[in-house]
Symmetry: C2
Subunit: 512 residues, 2 copies
């Protein structure tokens, strides 16, 4: 029998979820407008679209911080039927909605506005400074950003044994502290340096022939549609388009929009981008329809999201077995253009390691060094251990130390990325956390399905997709990233699986 | 010197316009979601998109009927500086926003909800009934719709010498009464019958060869991009895509989305659709940026909108001079496929007249008879002069009388169009009002620029576009349709220009 009190509490939960779905509907609308802007909107639409997006943000913010939500949360939190099992959907949704509500309401409106204005100004100045290779021009803005981020972190608060960075990273990687990152990045950095030194001294190297083969873009486009569908992207619940910077967006798990880009001279770049975004897209498609609009239907963190994109880009797309299946397909899309390439040329070409300056152009191994540098610098800045004006010197010294290269100017150095100008600190590490989670998940998947590579060689990718659906996607935000890792792999995150993966692949290729 | 009262009133106008723009931003967002749904959205997005659209409609409605608007309107209406010159932007905006506000607030929410539910149900039933060619199945729903529309008209009210139809048509053709329509349709119908009888008895007819030439769709698509840009569609402020049913949409004058469709066996159909939507699109692009979001930046009526689409589809696209320029271009898009066609074949093929059952497939002349039938029936129904159950008999008798054809079943008769099932009565006449306005405007344009046809033959369409920009587009909602016609052409709307156009073109083609 249902008592009056129980009914009331259950009603509170329903109202809470209905409210969350209202907010989610608006977020999905904003997302579609953003996608349209990047993919199809004519130039003339720019100014008005900014106003449309700002209006939706205002409406969404008003709904989000409605004090009624706090009342509903309190009712739900006091109801053991809802929250007694902490991993039940109702407990997870209550916990995560509380977290989101508290974070949103802790920031004063004036700070939010100040951040939006400062970030807008800083992005413009950053773009100019990068063009002119002139860090001092950007430095005063970055100082203001650091000051603002410290105040923002104060609003959020952090654990007694933590630091301001932790409070900011919470927006991207909930529950992850600088200490957590450092604990994994330090051994990663050390082992990676050794590997890169070995590669630098190797007498053997893969052929670059595949990367020098020019292939027509309209055929590349058809090839990407084929590959993306073959590895499991569901076109009845998503689409693939073209944009300057590839991204994954959409409204919900049944309408996922991914994009890629093409260059005539590098099909590998387009394939990497496409498989990367397909990985993000399949994570979104793997969330459950029944949870649309509530935290149980949302992804865990940027790091876990990146683990899914890297899974398909690197663990699958840069494996010899993938190319065993895929190389013969090149013929039907590109005719004789690839006839002279062997599997070794193609697989090798997808795995060349070459230390260079630009993060977004980096290979699978050196990429992580770019991230380590950024993390160490932003952490030091927020702790007050490093002054903004000294960033270029430290940056360049670290590139020399970790990658053995001399940064020629700040445009190719500390000015290359937009993130800090957008007031995003705590973001960069999620890229390498993604690589680390990816490798640890994939080792476990291989343990569960030892013939996975043989499946790839036959063009079968469904087992891996289903494994990810069951072990990662369906949980939504049930677990924090670190807990999910423990739950799935039985171990905390370490650098070992990623290093095993890189060493296992690269040493034979470089004859080490 | 500005007095306190003046400042306050001016502030009221600014607040009024700001409010209108807020509503317009939401409408633009809704419009982009609607466009996306028809053009690009994957199948999986259907249900959620409906919820997103419903949410935006709710938010927009709440804003629209905000009583604050009434206060602001009263302040503005009492300020002679704003409304003293009735054709000034401030007077027009005040007048039209008052009209819109009153109409929105006159309908009780219960009636709006009843209409939405009934229309949804009726559309499903109509689709089934059409499939089964079974009018009696749809009749009970249509009776309920007529009852609801009479109540809706009562809420709106109409002039003492008018009728319920007038109140409903106001949504599509503001200021237009059934008597106004009848005054032009009656002579149109008579003269058209005579012309169609002459054509039916003619011994000569244009060649159908062009319409039987199969042309590859990807080349048709490139051809449509070329033609649409050549006649003046601005791709920096709009785009052309493909959808099942062609339409024009977008956010505002600088972001206009048009669509077309292709059939391998009929490039003329795609060209007609494309030029039609380009005409709608150029009207939208011709509205002024400075008035975005206020009535001065909106189109007059569906009839005037249709006059712009028909201008480019029929007056330009079906003229001999257009083909003098365009026929040689076919070669570069379709190779030798059109080599055997003469200008007479192509121009003639675009102007074949053949009475048939289906409105949307009708030629330029018989099209208007389809509309006359619908108008006469919906007017009689609303007046109570005709019962719903008797529609098929009256419909079929009129098709026999006006077009000389025997309607084989209700699917090809009174069940062919969706409009009445959507509770839209007063809509159909706007199609033929568009043709009438179009012809009258074009005669005036020819009077102002006697060499217009020679310009078309040289591929020059800019003079006509500019003439439409200046005479029609830039006025926004300054004039009601009938007043705009009087203002531009110096005469009230009559059937004469359209009949002169049709007779002048068709008689030579049919050797009459």
């Amino acid at each position: 029998m249902t008592t009056a009190v129980e009914t009331q509490t259950s009603t509170a939960y329903q109202e809470l979820i209905t409210h969350a779905k209202e907010v989610h509907l608006l977020a999905g609308t904003t997302s579609i407008l953003g996608w349209d802007q990047e993919v199809f909107m004519p130039q003339g639409g720019v100014d008005y679209r900014a106003e449309q997006m700002a209006q939706l943000a205002r409406i969404q913010h008003e709904k989000t911080v409605d004090p009624r939500v706090n009342d509903l949360l309190q009712e739900c939190e006091g109801d053991s039927k809802l929250t007694g099992d902490p991993l039940s959907p109702s407990a997870v949704n209550t916990r995560e909605l509380r977290r989101d509500y508290d974070r949103k309401t802790r920031l004063p409106a004036s700070l939010v506005e100040e951040e939006a204005k400062l970030a807008s100004l800083a992005q413009h100045t950053w773009a100019d400074a990068r063009k002119e290779k002139d860090f001092p021009r950007f430095a005063p803005l970055l100082e203001q950003i650091v000051d603002l981020l410290r105040r923002k972190a104060e609003c959020y608060g952090w654990a007694e044994d933590g630091e301001a960075w932790d409070a900011l990273a919470e927006d991207y990687e909930p529950g992850c502290t600088a200490e957590d990152v450092d604990r994994v990045f330090t051994p990663l950095c050390e082992r990676l340096r050794t590997l890169l030194e070995e590669i630098a001294g190797a007498s053997q190297a893969p052929s670059n022939a595949f990367n020098e083969t020019k292939l027509p873009i309209d055929q590349q486009s058809k090839f990407m549609s084929f590959v993306s569908e073959a590895i499991g992207f569901d076109y009845s619940r998503g689409r693939l388009d073209v944009s300057t910077h590839p991204f994954t967006s959409g409204s919900h798990c049944n309408d996922v929009r991914i994009t890629t880009r093409f260059s005539e001279s590098n099909v590998n770049d387009a394939l990497g981008s496409t498989m990367h975004e397909v990985g993000h897209g399949m994570y979104e498609q793997g969330l459950l329809t029944e949870h649309i609009g509530s935290p149980m239907g949302e992804s865990v963190s940027l790091g876990i999201h990146e683990s899914q994109s890297r899974m398909w880009e690197n663990q699958v797309g840069r494996s010899r077995e993938f190319w065993t299946w895929c190389a013969p397909k090149l013929k039907s899309y590109f005719g004789n253009a690839c006839d002279s390439l062997t599997i070794d040329d193609i697989y090798g070409g997808a795995n060349i390691v070459k230390p260079d300056f630009i993060r977004v152009e980096a290979d699978e191994a050196t990429y992580n060094m770019h991230i380590v540098v950024r993390f160490q610098i932003e952490r030091a800045i927020l702790r007050g251990d490093l002054e903004v004006k000294d960033i270029p010197d430290v940056w360049n010294a670290k590139y020399k130390e970790y990658l053995g290269i001399d940064v020629p100017n700040d445009a190719k150095g500390c000015l290359q990325d937009i993130h800090w100008s957008m007031a995003a600190m705590g973001y960069f590490p999620t890229y390498t956390l993604g690589n680390l989670y990816c490798a640890q998940f994939f080792e476990k998947a291989l343990e569960d399905m030892p013939d996975l590579h043989e499946q790839f060689a036959r063009g079968e990718f469904d087992s891996l997709k289903k494994w990810l659906n069951v072990n990662i996607h369906q949980h939504g935000r049930r677990y924090r990233a670190a807990d999910l890792c423990q739950h799935v792999t039985g171990k905390p995150l370490t650098a070992d699986p990623l290093m095993r993966h890189l060493e296992g692949k690269l040493k034979p290729l470089y004859g080490i």
